[in-house]
């Protein structure tokens, strides 16, 4: 078993160039995810978001880097921790916050909730709340692309914990056998809900150390570096589009917030969060851009623009009516209703 030396650094170094525009876009995306999710957290504490909410604070580089490497038409399959990936594909903040708040302006008008964000228009084919369930589903979408000769790739995001459930194994084998154009992105944030992944996993790298079981390359990357994510995913997409089959990419990252809702995450050893905050993906990306000559004012303007978007979205959601009752009985069946008998 390979031992990693720095917990935060990946083992596979990519080597391509990224255009300045792309990098600004990735910065904007990371800032957007950060601000939108911080807002979601505040709204939860204000009891304006009920139920639950799973944030990706600290994991923005994975979502931004992947989305930046995707083409329109590519498909995303997310988990309950799906706000970031949904926003990164271009779904408006208002729609996402509206859904979290159970408002009529929400992405699914409140019928799905925070764990099921779906926007087919943006290629977000759903967020799945049963751990592992969407890996086979993503295979199915990729199978359709292969069957129809479509060039889209399906991306399936999941956590370290999901690598120990049966559906993971079945999906990986199925995808590898059929060389499906699907990319499996394991966001290893070190924890399941509250239990460290290492305590319940037989290998050090829950994703990468399983790759060989499916004849796949072992890939572990620094998931807090959007450039690394972007380059690695670009390669995986190219491979998928070339008919060379799936990839399994383990992104090392960390969630700054608790698992869900207001979880204070007391199970984390002291200092751990601080060490990871030093590797905060948003700040390191900003520093890197500045170091490479991007004017601070440009980056400030992006942040300000994002703040306006998030503020406006919040206001719009607060003003929106709560979900209208007429949709309670709609869309159970394709005929639009819920009647199961004559």
């Amino acid at each position: 078993m390979t031992q990693k030396t720095r917990p935060s650094a990946g083992e596979t170094a990519p080597e391509r160039e990224i255009s300045p525009e792309k990098r600004l876009e990735m910065y904007r995306l990371q800032v957007l995810l950060r601000q939108a999710e911080q807002r979601a957290y505040d709204l939860f504490l204000e009891n304006k978001i009920k139920g639950t909410s799973h944030l990706s604070l600290g994991q923005e580089a994975v979502a931004a880097g992947t989305a930046a490497a995707m083409r329109p038409g590519d498909l995303s399959f997310c988990t309950y921790r799906g706000h970031a990936h949904t926003l990164a594909r271009g779904v408006p903040v208002e729609k996402v916050l509206g859904e979290l708040m159970g408002r009529d302006n929400g992405l699914m008008r409140g019928k799905g909730g925070s764990m099921h964000l779906t926007s087919v228009e943006h290629g977000v084919m759903g967020s799945y709340a049963i751990v592992g369930a969407h890996l086979p589903i993503a295979c199915g979408a990729a199978w359709r692309a292969q069957y129809k000769g479509d060039s889209d790739v399906s991306v399936c995001f999941f956590g370290d914990g999901a690598t120990n459930i049966g559906a993971f194994h079945e999906a990986l084998n199925f995808a590898a056998c059929r060389k499906l154009p699907v990319v499996f992105v394991c966001e290893n944030n070190l924890y399941m809900e509250y239990t460290p992944i290492t305590e319940v996993t037989a290998v050090t790298h829950p994703g990468a150390d399983r790759a060989s079981a499916y004849g796949l390359e072992r890939i572990v990357i620094d998931g807090n570096d959007a450039d690394v994510v972007y380059l690695t995913l670009s390669k995986a997409f190219a491979r998928a589009r070339a008919g060379e089959g799936p990839s399994l990419i383990e992104c090392l990252t960390y969630r700054h917030s608790g698992h869900s809702r207001a979880d204070p995450a007391k199970y984390r050893p002291p200092g751990e969060l601080d060490r990871w905050k030093e590797r905060d993906p948003v700040s390191i990306y900003r520093k890197r851009l500045e170091a490479e000559g991007v004017p601070g004012a440009t980056l400030d303007a992006i942040e300000a623009q994002v703040r306006r978007v998030v503020d406006d979205a919040t206001k719009a959601c607060e003003a929106a009516p709560s979900t209208s009752e007429d949709i309670l009985f709609t869309d159970v069946y394709a005929d639009g209703g819920c009647s199961w008998r004559n």
Binding site: M125, C139, W143, R144, W340
Partner: protein, 326 residues
């Protein structure tokens, strides 16, 4: 017109739909080159090739999950889960994924697929390969559940299921695979959600499904011949959607109802039907609603025991006669 077996009808129904729509694909364990464990997909691989007819690993979650992802994005998959009992290893898709995705997405996502299974007992396969699993499937809003009892219904209902925009569980009865029936030439298309009165009657309504349909018909004949009791036999065919009109109409005419269910008693499909009748047709009923089921036991393997467990013609006759003359 041709005489086809129920298993040949499955293959013909699938072939009809695959020929009609190139988005229809078939996947499952041993369904392609080997033609299926029940030989119900013989010839399809040869006719439609490896791209459309896929042998899969023993990965039921991958089978149903892949079918779902494909259905959501434009294909019309038919997935075989060999024995219906194996729905246990991929039940999340039946319970949590297929039926809920349209609603949760507020109508954005469709899931038009068919899950075919070999269902039911009588083959001496024991407790894990003989179950009638209608009652594992019918409690999920969004999911449809169909179970044909004759070759012609197999084709027509399978075609309807494939064309249906909602997910459908299609339960083929293992002990009927060898049964023959008349099948007209040309395209056959039936309608989900329609029951069929196979034998009109005045004194009681018998509601049956799958292998219990021929047994109920035989029982009805015996009841007529032996006791002059006239039973109306309804092949329910489709549990979801349910043809409540047909069922309630019949009960209104006869005043008595019996379900004949292959599943063990507890929460069999008949309980829902009886509960509808006990509410909406209460004043039509002239006596107790009686459920004739496998008793509260797993199915034993030995032939002598299995025959005692599943409702037999004699048991049906006996229970109906006793109840009507009590």
């Amino acid at each position: 017109m041709a005489q086809l077996t129920y298993r040949e009808a499955v293959a013909r129904g699938i072939a009809q739909e695959m020929a009609r729509d190139e988005n229809v694909v078939l996947l499952g364990e041993d369904v392609a080159k080997a033609g299926g464990v029940f030989k119900a997909t013989v010839g399809l691989f040869e006719q439609f090739g490896p791209k459309r007819v896929l042998d899969t690993p023993i990965s039921e979650q991958a089978i149903l999950g892949a079918a779902m992802g494909a259905a959501m994005t434009g294909l019309r998959p038919i997935a075989e889960i060999m024995f219906a009992d194996f729905l246990g290893v991929c039940y999340d898709y039946i319970a949590n994924e297929f039926p809920k995705t349209r609603y949760m997405s507020n109508g954005q996502v469709s899931c038009p697929l068919v899950v075919r299974c070999g269902n039911g007992g009588g083959a001496r396969f024991g407790a894990q390969h003989s179950q009638s699993v209608e009652n594992w499937c019918m409690q999920f809003p969004g999911l449809k559940v169909v179970s044909p009892s004759s070759p012609v219904d197999v084709i027509g209902l399978l075609a309807a299921a494939v064309r249906d925009p909602d997910p459908v569980v299609f339960l083929e009865h293992k002990s009927l695979y060898a049964v023959k029936g008349e099948v007209p030439d040309g395209e056959i298309l039936d309608t989900l959600g329609t029951a069929r009165i196979l034998r009109p009657g005045r004194d009681a309504t018998i509601l049956a499904l799958g292998m219990m349909v021929p047994r109920s018909l035989q029982a009805a004949e015996a009841l007529q011949a032996k006791y002059g009791i006239s039973c109306e036999v309804i092949d329910v065919r489709s549990l979801v959607p349910l043809d409540t009109q047909c069922i309630l109409g019949s009960v209104a005419r006869t005043g008595r109802v019996f379900t004949v269910e292959e599943n063990p008693r507890q929460l069999g499909w008949g309980s829902e039907l009886v509960s509808i009748i006990a509410d909406e047709a209460f004043y039509d009923l002239d006596g107790p609603a009686v459920r004739i089921t496998t008793p509260n036991i797993p199915l034993p393997a030995a032939d002598a025991l299995e025959d005692l467990a599943i409702p037999s013609v004699d048991r049906i006759v006996g229970m109906i006669h006793r109840s009507l003359t009590a």
